[in-house]
Symmetry: C2
Subunit: 259 residues, 2 copies
DNA sequence: CTGAAAGCGCTTACAG
DNA sequence: CTGAAAGCGCTTACAG
């Protein structure tokens, strides 16, 4: 069912039907009612491509993800919430998978040229995020999920990583602990830096010296965290009731390949 | 950069440039070269909406997911692989989030009418999958990730759930175990039924009676599995070294809300 | 081998 | 308040 057919069915012009459907003020209320009813009854839905071509808006927002690496529980939970919210506006999420940083940058250039999406959401920003600079240059709207320190202003949303880790560390200090480890994210990610700042602040506020052996930086997986924790505990062997075996991991997995 | 500009730049018609870019056989090889080079140099990329409108293909395949529920590690791993493969063909994944089964069906109808996607991938099929019937009726191509028992033939891909669980169960029987529990997926999902069949087959092959108390059906989360396992173990209390505490779960979480 | 023109299905000035 | 027509940026018969 195309607009043209719907218009013929109603004995109206495409113009009027289009306006009635899109809520333009100048159309007669009775006409609008009739159009709305008939459209609903006939199950009319505008062709997405035609609409996009005519309006210049794609009705989709994009995300580019790094293959399997980035599909952790965090990203997917974020995607779920984002999808639910965007569904209300009938905007879609279009995502592209890449396998390298170069590919990611290329994906943004491609998307800009082909006008597939109206905007992007970037996750896991680095302190000096090159992607943000690129999108700014390309004139593509975007919002950062996290923060970056590039000179130009960017839209972002983030939690208070520094405050959260500072309070968590302080809480453990309050309980009397003195050797507190930080299993942190990858070095260079903004959130990792922010968490480190919170951790160090809490320690120094109590005059506890920082022990580099108690801080690990890596990606967030059960296996890696397990290995890091185990290494740290071995530094000071003693019986522990801490449940290290998790998800079937009973011994440290082999080291990841290096390139 | 539009096709028209590129054509003017080259002193050719849009027609020829379009054909050169799309690999039509009738264009002169020298012309093709020149077009390809210039297009690359100028960073020309066809407008996605225009291309879709003209060809009738959307260049995207769709998935509809149930909000936060379905964003488990399994789905996301699947999405990652799918995205990587589709990226090679320059086809995008467009996903929509819904919060009920009714909404899911509505989403397919909408997608069919607006022609947003060329095909769908359905996951977690039920034994008698209504969605598959709907898509068949709508004439929308799709492939099932899993199987269903509806009468009409459908394209699907799946693993051998029955064989896998049968072998796993047999392995435990070989080790001398006799009280073997099955923490299974939701009742009614095809894969759950298939796994149950494998489990029962392995037990009966050794003449072990089936104990309903040792089979649980629910969604796959650490918390639920922990609770199910704990309940089963309490049936036969005895000291165990089995590491039940996982991911910080130390006591069973509250029961999920019922409607 | 190349091009002029119609068409894909919408929106939106412009005119009435 | 309504409509005829141009335009969005491509593809593709049709003609040469």
């Amino acid at each position: 069912m195309r607009l043209k057919e719907l218009a013929e069915h109603l004995g109206l012009s495409q113009t009027t039907v289009s306006r009635a459907l899109n809520g333009y003020p100048e159309v007669n209320e009775a006409t609008r009612q009739r159009v709305a009813e008939t459209a609903a009854r006939l199950g009319y839905r505008p062709n997405a491509s035609a609409l996009r071509l005519a309006t210049g808006r794609s009705g989709a927002i994009g995300m580019v993800l790094h293959g399997a690496n980035e599909f952790g529980p965090h990203t997917t939970e974020f995607l779920g919430g984002m999808g639910a919210r965007l569904a209300l506006e009938e905007v879609d999420i279009l995502f592209t998978t890449v396998s390298s940083y170069q590919e990611e940058l290329a994906a943004y250039r491609r998307a800009a040229a082909s006008q597939k999406v109206d905007a992007f959401v970037l996750s896991s920003p680095t302190l000096s995020d090159e992607r943000a600079d690129l999108l700014l240059d390309l004139g593509l709207p975007f919002v950062l999920h996290g923060r970056t320190n590039i000179a130009r202003p960017v839209a972002w949303l983030d939690i208070d990583n520094t405050g959260a880790v500072e309070r968590a560390t302080t809480h453990l200090l309050d309980l009397g602990h003195r050797r507190i480890a930080l299993l942190n994210g990858i070095k260079g990610r903004t959130f990792s830096e922010h968490r480190e700042i919170g951790y160090l602040a809490a320690l120094s506020a109590r005059g506890i010296p920082f022990d580099p052996a108690l801080m690990g930086n890596s990606i967030f997986t059960d296996e890696i965290a397990f290995r890091m924790a185990q290494t740290m505990l071995e530094l000071r062997p003693r019986p522990t009731a801490f449940p290290l075996a998790c998800r079937g991991v009973r011994s440290p997995p082999p080291a990841p390949p290096r390139r």
